[in-house]
């Protein structure tokens, strides 16, 4: 008795949508950052589910890549957020509107 593929995909889609909404609505840069991680992991979940059901290692390998990239991204992103905080004393993206015309 195993969990069907659709269940994994639904969970994955749910997680991904949650990430998207988080990125689009939250104003704290750290939360936005965590939401992005959530989206990445939602994708990882669907990769793993397909790998298991198709009996293929390709998806597993992709997950490793995604995790490496995500780790690098966390390092860089957190550094940027810290730098912004030191400069502006805030991580509220609504107040970080330097890229304006």
């Amino acid at each position: 008795m195993s969990v069907p593929l659709s269940a994994y995909l639904i969970l994955s889609a749910y997680l991904f949508a949650m990430g998207v909404v988080g990125v689009a609505t939250r104003r704290n840069a750290l939360i936005i950052f965590m939401s992005i991680e959530l989206m990445l992991n939602a994708v990882n979940l669907s990769f793993l589910a397909f790998a298991r059901f198709l009996n293929s290692m390709d998806g597993q390998i992709f997950v490793f890549f995604v995790m490496v990239v995500a780790a690098a991204e966390v390092a860089v992103g957190l550094a940027i957020i810290i730098a912004i905080y030191r400069n502006k004393e805030t991580v509220d993206v609504a107040e970080l509107n330097l890229l304006k015309w």
């Binding site: 689009a24 993206v93 609504a94």
Partner: protein, 634 residues
């Protein structure tokens, strides 16, 4: 020595590099020693080359060396090639010999100048370029160094560039020369398109076969080349830069604007003798321009009061004689005059430099007079040079000028001969006038200048004496006329160009020589009468012929004419283009495009809110739209 011709020009190049990069650090003594030593080494190398050349039989006196290929494109080929034959041998001896003496003289003349290293750097660069110019074995290399000596001339005329008149004179020389060089460049291009080669030996071998004698092509080539020569050698109509070039330091006037660079045009015409022989029309143009310039410049020299300008107009006049010689086919005589002229005219310039030095910068001969008592060496050497220039037997100028006039008469160019003879009379007159007003009579020196009046130091007078010895004696290498040692050496170079000139009229050599001597002596006598025996005559002449005097004093208003005809229209046209075309049309269209884009962006740039959320939102909407399109509509 003949296997390494590069040893001749390389020393001044090294001197240029060392003085140019380290001149300020190694001190004046070292700079002077390096500069003079390098030219001295070139002189030794040139003498060695001459010795080796003389040791060969007459028909084998031609050495050509290709140091390295330079440009090779398709069937176009130009090399770093050197050619030594009797013609270039004479030229390198003049350049390095007179150049060496002038370098030594400059040590004394420029001693007080703060830019001493820069001066010798330029001087060495010039010597290198000039040696390469006369040693080049093709027209393109000739052209390159032709421009290089023009550059050095510009740099040295404007050596005291903080003085506006000097900077302007430098620019004038450069721009006027551009006109001539433009013609020269066109001539070289036309030569290449019609013959497919620029090497002298190949050009002269191919020209008689491939170009129609007297035809349009060869006439155009030679006239264009001659246009270049009128610029560089200061002939009508492009002579106007040379008198102004006297703004440069006097050794520069002696080296560049008397002895060497200005003779490059004569050298080039003589080098191209086989081409000019094919174009009789060009030859007569050369002869006429030369003869007219000889007289024209001499008349201006009659009334000038700046000692250097008198000598400058004399240079233009003497260069006219050289072209006259080339034009009537007496190439060897023209080069002979080039050589003797280099000595006596360099001496005249260095002598005037010595006077200017002694008078703390005074150049006006009306404020001189009686200087012989104070500077005897300068006075005697100046007198020798003036007499040599005037063509008095047995000084150098007599032999060479007589030979040119004889060539003109023998070639049947009666009118040109008359011009030359008239010029010879004027030359004798103005040279002696210059000498008398400067060195004889009552002193008109201003008191504070008289206070410092002194003979120049030995480093300046010794070159004067050596040059005087040459100015007196160098003519004897061409004795007897037309058959002297000089002619046996140089004449074979022009063997191919000789026949056409021919001897149309039969005139005796000795009567002709006596006639030209008498003409010169009349000039000397008249000058003596005007400025020694009856000094009131010149003033009376001015009163009686005020219009003629003013015309001559203002140099026939040629500068004013050129200003009105060429400079002013170009200036106005440029102003008009600037105000009416450049500003509204070119600037306007550029600014207009910018303004258009700026106005167009006013609306669009509102999209850039700077809020991350709005960017993310548009991002999400975009992704959903694309995915939706891919999933449902495709």
């Amino acid at each position: 020595m003949l296997n390494s011709l590069w040893l001749i020009p390389v020393w001044p190049l090294l001197g240029f590099l060392v003085n140019g990069f380290f001149g300020r650090r190694i001190g004046k003594t070292a700079v002077g020693t390096i500069a003079c030593g390098s030219v001295g080494l070139s002189l030794l190398a040139s003498l060695g080359a001459l010795g080796k050349l003389l040791a060969r039989p007459a028909e084998a006196r031609r050495v050509e060396q290709v140091l390295a290929p330079w440009i090779g494109a398709g069937n176009f080929q130009a090399d770093w090639g050197l050619l030594l034959d009797p013609l270039s041998a004479v030229m390198i001896l003049v350049v390095s010999g007179v150049g060496f003496l002038i370098h030594v003289y400059s040590i004394g003349y420029m001693r007080e100048d703060p830019d001493y290293p820069r001066f010798f750097t330029y001087l060495n660069l010039f010597t290198f370029s000039m040696l390469m110019l006369v040693l080049a074995n093709n027209y393109l290399l000739l052209y390159v160094f032709w421009e290089a000596v023009g550059l050095c001339s510009y740099l040295l005329i404007g050596f005291w560039f903080e003085k506006k008149s000097a900077a302007d004179a430098g620019k004038k020389a450069f721009i006027v020369n551009r006109v001539g060089d433009f013609g020269f460049a066109l001539g070289v291009m036309l030569l290449w398109t019609s013959l497919g080669t620029l090497r002298y030996d190949q050009v002269f071998a191919a020209a008689p076969a491939q170009l129609v004698a007297g035809g349009g092509v060869v006439t155009a080539i030679t006239l264009l080349l001659f246009l270049g020569a009128t610029g560089k050698s200061a002939q009508i109509p492009l002579y106007v830069w040379l008198p102004d070039a006297m703004e440069g330091p006097t050794p520069v006037s002696a080296l560049i604007h008397a002895a060497t660079m200005v003779t490059a045009g004569v050298y080039m015409v003589a080098r191209s003798a086989p081409l000019f022989t094919l174009a009789p029309l060009s030859l007569s143009v050369v002869a006429w321009i030369g003869g007219l310039t000889a007289v024209f410049a001499a008349t201006i020299a009659l009334v000038q009061t700046d000692i250097k300008r008198i000598v400058a107009y004399s240079t233009i006049s003497q260069l006219g004689y050289m072209f006259l010689g080339c034009g009537v086919g007496a190439y060897a005589a023209a080069i002979f005059h080039l050589m003797t002229h280099a000595f006596f005219k360099a001496l005249l310039f260095l002598g005037s430099g010595s006077v200017i030095h002694g008078l703390s910068g005074e150049q006006d001969i009306r404020k001189m007079g009686g200087l012989r008592k104070h500077m005897p060496i300068t006075a005697w050497t100046f007198l020798i040079a003036a007499l040599a220039n005037a063509g008095i037997f047995p000084l150098a100028g007599f032999w060479s000028k007589d030979e040119i006039l004889y060539g003109a008469a023998a070639g049947g160019y009666g009118a040109v001969w008359a011009l030359g003879a008239g010029g010879a009379f004027l030359t004798a007159f103005y040279m002696l006038r210059c000498y008398y007003l400067t060195f004889e009579g009552r002193s008109r020196v201003e008191p504070e200048a008289a206070h410092h009046l002194h003979e120049s130091p030995p480093v300046m007078t010794v070159p004067l004496v050596i040059l005087a010895v040459f100015a007196a004696l160098v003519g004897f290498v061409g004795v007897p006329p037309e058959h002297g040692a000089y002619h046996r050496f140089v004449e074979p170079v022009f063997a191919g160009a000789k026949q056409v000139a021919g001897h149309a009229a039969s005139v005796g050599e000795v009567p002709m020589a006596i006639l030209s001597l008498v003409i010169a002596l009349v000039g000397v006598w008249l000058a003596t009468r005007f400025y020694v025996w009856r000094p009131e005559i010149p003033a009376r002449m001015v009163e009686r012929y005020p219009a003629a005097y003013r015309t001559l004093l203002h140099k026939y208003y040629v500068d004013e004419l050129y200003d009105a005809l060429i400079v002013e229209p170009i200036r106005r046209g440029s102003l008009w283009l600037w105000r009416r075309f450049d500003e509204p049309v070119i600037d306007g269209s550029v600014n207009g495009i910018g303004a258009l884009i700026r106005i167009g962006s006013l609306a669009l740039r509102r999209v850039q809110t700077g809020y991350v959320m709005s960017y993310v939102l548009s991002f999400i909407v975009g992704v959903v739209a694309i995915l939706g399109y891919l999933a449902f509509w495709r």
